[in-house]
């Protein structure tokens, strides 16, 4: 166990020293602050909690930014270390390859968590002081968003490991990571939208569509957060369909966790075959 923690600690240390934590925090903070300032403008006065309005837009921001940051953090984890020759000694030590991956996962998860907590936390604090009717509900919504964003990020970190373990060059791993991001958060949604437009009354819209949302961890994350905010009028994007789901939208949060387990399991299997 102390070996796993040593690996995690090293990743956190590197993440802080190479300014990864700071960079990711600033990116999240700047975008979040923009949304906060827009949301608290005069036009943004609605019946709902001021912070809740902000959280609704932050949830959509998370879907794009958090997986990107997570993949950028993880694509280098194995391919890059093999490239630079730093993984050999770790794999020659008595630590199992599964432990190596778990240690890295904990470390990268903490790096991402720090960035999300700082970026959204500070932006949320600004929203709290600027907003209208801000109450406990808004703070709870923000807290939920932060926790689920970290979970979403952890999922994409695990998926990034699969990419990183499957190829030998860092460059290839990076290209693979970008492709995963593009598919999961852009192309997948576009394809679903296309499907909805062509068969708005058919089998696709009524039966398949909600489950297809559930399959993609990023969409499932948005479905969950929108449902949890409990403000149908505020929902945006594809998740607006959440009202007519054939299942409790709250269970959507299971999807990222399932993908997290799949990602970690698959990358461990691949890493076991890697010859450093």
């Amino acid at each position: 166990m102390s070996a796993v923690l040593a690996i995690a600690q090293t990743e956190i240390r590197i993440g802080i020293r190479n300014r990864w934590v700071m960079l990711a925090s600033v990116i999240l903070f700047v975008f979040a602050l923009l949304l906060v300032l827009l949301g608290s403008g005069p036009g943004g006065a609605t019946r709902a909690d001021g912070l809740t309005v902000v959280v609704a837009s932050l949830a959509t921001l998370s879907v794009y930014l958090v997986p990107l940051i997570a993949l950028l953090l993880s694509f280098d984890a194995i391919a890059g270390e093999i490239d630079r020759g730093t993984l050999q000694l770790t794999l020659a030590s008595p630590v199992s390859r599964g432990q190596v991956l778990i240690g890295k996962f904990i470390g990268h998860g903490c790096v991402l968590a720090l960035a999300v907590i700082f970026g959204y936390g500070v932006a949320g604090a600004v929203g709290y002081f600027l907003g209208h009717n801000v109450g406990l509900d808004g703070i709870i919504d923000l807290g939920r968003l932060i926790v689920t964003s970290i979970a979403l990020g952890a999922t994409f970190i695990a998926i990034g490991y699969v990419a990183s373990a499957s190829v030998r060059q860092t460059g290839t791993a990076a290209a693979l990571a970008v492709a995963i991001w593009l598919f999961a958060v852009v192309l997948y949604d576009l394809a679903l939208l296309g499907g909805l437009i062509t068969s708005s009354d058919g089998l696709f819209a009524k039966v398949l569509f909600p489950y297809l949302l559930l399959v993609n961890p990023a969409d499932a994350f948005r479905v969950f957060n929108m449902a949890a905010i409990d403000a149908g009028g505020l929902s945006t994007g594809l998740a607006a369909q959440g009202n007519s789901m054939p299942f409790q939208p709250h269970i959507a949060i299971v999807s990222p966790f399932i993908w997290m387990v799949i990602g970690l399991g698959l990358s461990t299997l691949i890493l076991r075959r890697v010859q450093p």
């Binding site: 102390s2 240390r13 730093t86 050999q88 000694l89 008595p94």
Partner: protein
């Protein structure tokens, strides 16, 4: 004998290239064995197989009784790769302490390992700024941690200055004295300066020699070189009497086998005043190495 490392008829090929061909090599506790060979002779491949990174195509290996790559084997082996690299953002102390934790070693080992390789002063600097020699020493510190039963050192002295190199061999002997088996690879014999108990030479994946250095010297049976210095006036006469070849106008160079050395020297001293000076040089370590690594010769195999 109970060897820490036992490899029996290990073979490995990559596509068409025969990287290792039936290599059998044992290293006993406390024994220092040098593995020599050109680039691509198979040294690193053998190390990677012993570490469990590669599966051999044939043959068997045991490390302190365990299979290579097993947890038990990895606990027994410490490795120093040929071009060792560490995360640039970490300090030397953090690097060593990281590997100490991975190996489950005591925390007090960290400082003593850094002391052994003379890195205490630089321990709190980031290792991205280390010189090649310092990185190599940090790699060695990492390998010394955790009481290894077998030290696998891949060209450990490359990039070290002569004083560091001397200290390195002292450390290796110290560990061997405590019962650690040491297998280190090197490009040539001259680098070792007879600081190992046994020399194994790989040539294109085949073990062509495996014996103590003195045995190799004897079995190579290379000629001794005798250089006779004469004067401009007498050099012709000396050359006629002794044979050999003339060099730089005043000297004659002769080659002779070990058993004929004394007779040859007697012949030279008979020439009296015609000879100014005599220099006798035994075959150099490099010549012996070249003899084994270039010629088709299995003289040392039986050992």
């Amino acid at each position: 004998m109970n060897s820490v490392l036992q490899t029996h008829a290990v073979s490995k090929h990559f596509r068409k290239v025969e990287a290792l061909n039936a290599v059998s090599l044992n290293v006993a506790p406390g024994e220092r064995v040098a593995l020599l060979g050109h680039n691509g002779a198979g040294k690193t491949t053998l190390f990677r197989i012993v570490l469990g990174f590669l599966k051999p195509d044939g043959g068997s290996i045991s490390i302190a009784g365990s299979k290579p790559g097993s947890k038990q084997a990895r606990r027994s082996v410490s490795y120093l790769p040929e071009s060792v690299a560490f995360p640039k953002m970490l300090t030397g102390r953090e690097v060593v302490s990281y590997y100490a934790k991975l190996k489950g070693a005591r925390h007090s080992d960290v400082l003593s390992a850094l002391e052994k390789v003379d890195l205490v002063d630089a321990a709190d600097r980031r290792c991205g700024g280390y010189s090649k020699g310092m990185r190599q020493r940090l790699g060695l510190a990492q390998a010394l941690i955790g009481d290894p039963k077998l030290l696998l050192l891949d060209e450990p002295t490359s990039g070290l200055d002569p004083i560091s190199r001397q200290k390195f061999y002292q450390l290796v002997s110290e560990f061997a004295g405590r019962g650690t088996a040491v297998l280190l690879s090197s490009h040539g014999l001259s680098e070792l300066e007879a600081r190992t108990d046994r020399v194994a030479i790989l040539r294109k994946g085949v073990l062509v020699a495996n014996a103590p250095l003195s045995d190799l010297q004897a079995s190579a049976n290379l000629p001794i070189r005798i250089s006779v210095r004469s004067t401009q006036a007498n050099v012709d006469r000396v050359h006629r009497q002794l044979g050999g070849s003339r060099i730089n106008g005043v000297s004659v160079e002769l080659e002779c086998r070990q058993p004929h050395k004394m007779a040859q020297l007697a012949a030279i001293s008979k020439l009296g005043a015609a000879v100014n000076d005599v220099e006798v040089s035994p075959p150099s370590l490099d010549e012996i190495y070249r003899h084994f690594s270039n010629h088709h010769d299995h003289a040392g195999d039986a050992k």
